[in-house]
């Protein structure tokens, strides 16, 4: 019946139906009964032989009529109930098909019995591939064993609930890709047996937004710290540099050239210290980066000049393979140098035990015209898969003396350049960081496409 109808109307109508039913049955019964009485009276006086027959006929008619009325009423009822059921089923099917959740119907032994289109889309399997498979198919290999235990305990005390509250649940696609999910379990006890309906939401986007928001808060906090640090640092530095200028301005002419030079060095470095601090603090704030053509090959060579010797001392060799004549990219030289230094420092730290090789490669990207790529690979300890998602987080560090700012800053700088930074790593083999930067001049064929 119409789902829009309020339950009160439904109830009063079924009462009315009952009354009509009762009246109909009573009237039929009275009419037939009357007929029977009249006929039997008439027959009784005339021909008693026929009375029996007539009586019986009348009785059959009466019962038949009564049965007919009852049966038609019941048939109507049943038809309506069936309609209701069909509609409910259709509505459920529509929900199942169009729901924003992925929905799985799972039996107590963990076998998938049905999956809706959203679930199919989410996990990348076809319906046929899913049906009959254990649900563990849909979580990463390394978590399967643990899930078996959870499932057993769930069915021993079934209860509809949110799954894995507090823990992070991970789904695995057919192609091996993993994504964070949220699952709510609904236990149904049916005559065909117990089933669980699992409602699955892909929370990748939501988590990303949450992470962005948290990052934003950290930035604001860093902005406040930056103001404080700048004040505490620049005032003493101003005292140092101004006093040196005073000494130089008021000194007797006898001030030796050497002393003069020493003072100048101190002075220059006081100002440099404040510039470095400003640079660091600026990157904590939203600073517009400079956009000048930067030659990546020069950048690498120049940065390495200060690093080679230091690396050699700790047993790290550096191999450089730069495509000659690589077109300049568009960016902030100082910021990019900082990115490179951070990556080199991390690579060195990763190879602290026993040395190794850092390989720097740079080339244009044939499949992405308008971009150049630079990669820094090491043969160090590598990064655990579950840490990979965190290394760009601010303050994330596994080093006793690390700040956890290095990669965070790299990522920020790359974002400000409309570039990107990616990482690939294998524990025990090494790590490769790849940065991608827009070229200063967009190549011809791209401009035509645009």
């Amino acid at each position: 019946m119409g789902s829009a109808e309020p339950p009160v109307a439904e109830e009063s109508r079924s009462k009315k139906e009952l009354v009509i039913n009762a009246v109909g049955i009573t009237l039929t019964y009275l009419a037939v009964g009357l007929l029977w009485v009249v006929i039997s009276e008439f027959a009784l006086s005339e021909m008693p032989a026929r009375t029996l027959v007539l009586n019986r006929v009348a009785f059959i008619l009466a019962s038949g009529g009564l049965l007919y009325v009852l049966a038609s009423r019941w048939a109507g009822r049943i038809r309506r109930v069936n309609q209701d059921l069909e509609e409910t089923a259709a509505r459920a099917a529509a929900l199942f098909d169009a729901a924003a959740w992925g929905i799985l119907r799972v039996s107590p032994d963990g076998t998938i019995h049905n999956a809706n289109p959203k679930a199919i889309e989410m996990f990348g399997y076809t319906l046929e591939e899913l049906i009959g498979q254990p649900v563990e198919l849909l979580i990463p290999q390394r978590l399967r064993q643990g899930h078996l235990g959870h499932r057993a305990s769930f069915f021993s005390a079934p209860q509809s609930r949110q799954m894995g509250l507090g823990a992070e649940l991970v789904g695995a696609r057919k192609d091996g890709g993993e994504f964070p999910i949220e699952v709510s379990l609904n236990f149904l006890h049916t005559i065909k047996g117990d089933v669980v309906m699992a409602f699955i939401t892909d929370v990748t986007e939501r988590l990303k937004l949450e992470r962005e928001a948290r990052r934003g808060e950290t930035l604001t906090a860093l902005g406040a710290i930056a103001a404080g640090v700048a004040h505490e640092l620049n005032n003493p530095l101003a005292v140092v540099s101004s006093r040196i200028e005073l000494i130089m301005a008021t000194a007797e002419p006898g001030l030796s050239a050497q002393t003069r030079e020493d003072l100048e060095v101190v002075h220059r470095n006081a100002r440099r210290a404040s510039q470095i601090a400003a640079e660091l603090l600026n990157s904590a704030r939203q600073r517009p980066v400079e956009r000048r053509p930067v030659n990546l090959n020069d950048l690498v060579e120049e940065t390495l000049r200060n690093f080679r010797e230091q690396m050699r001392r700790v047993g790290v060799s550096i191999a450089v393979a730069l495509a000659p004549g690589l077109a300049p990219i568009k960016g902030d030289r100082i910021a990019l140098e900082q990115v490179l230094i951070n990556l080199l420092a991390n690579a060195r730290d990763a190879m602290a035990a026993g040395g190794g090789t850092i390989r720097i490669e740079g080339h244009a990207l044939p499949d992405r015209p308008g971009f150049a790529q630079l990669s820094v690979s090491d043969t160090g300890c590598g990064i655990m898969p579950d840490a990979l998602g965190h290394i760009f987080d601010v303050f994330y560090t596994t080093k006793a003396t690390g700040t956890g700012l290095g990669l965070w800053l790299c990522r920020r700088i790359m974002l400000e350049h409309q570039g990107r930074i990616d990482v690939r790593s294998e524990v025990g083999c090494g790590t490769t960081f790849t940065i991608m930067l827009p070229l200063a001049e967009v190549p011809e064929q791209v401009r035509i496409n645009v």
Partner: protein, 154 residues
């Protein structure tokens, strides 16, 4: 002096590179900074240029000195430990004959630049500044036709 700063002008004019101690511009400058060492640096260096300098280390002290001394120029830090250097600047600007003001700050932020523009400061110096920069700013401020406020470079 960093390599890039040109030598102070008086160095070129006075033989032996010494400040002519008797020389006086007759200008009176109030320097306000809660860091006494820095206020002293500025006062002594500007003194070498022949200006008469006074020092204040707090907001109230500075305002009182503005009223009593009526200097030709106020050089104040934006941040004072007992309050806001902007209040000092406003106090100097609110006089019947507004005094030129130079702001100093250890922290370059868009807010600070906006504040400098709002009070009508002649210049805005980012710490640590060189004495050549300070000298340039002071000369521009006490010149008859003060330059409009400009963003710092650096």
């Amino acid at each position: 002096m960093s390599d890039r700063d040109p030598p102070p002008e008086w160095l070129e004019h006075s033989p032996g590179g010494r400040a002519p101690s008797a020389f006086s511009t007759g200008r009176r400058i109030l320097i306000v900074d809660d860091e006494p060492d820095l206020a002293e640096s500025c006062a002594r260096l500007l003194g070498l240029k022949g200006h008469e300098c006074f020092r204040a280390h707090g907001q109230l002290e500075a305002m009182t000195m503005i009223d009593q001394l009526v200097p030709d120029l106020v050089v104040t830090d934006l941040y004072l430990s007992d309050g806001d250097g902007l209040a000092v600047a406003r106090h100097a600007r609110r006089r019947i004959r507004p005094l030129p003001v130079i702001l100093m700050t250890a922290y370059h932020s868009p807010d600070a630049v906006a504040a400098a523009a709002e009070v009508g400061a002649v210049d805005y110096l980012l710490k640590p500044f060189s004495m050549a920069e300070l000298d340039r700013a002071v000369n521009a401020a006490i010149a008859p036709d003060p330059l409009p406020v400009r963003a710092p470079h650096g």
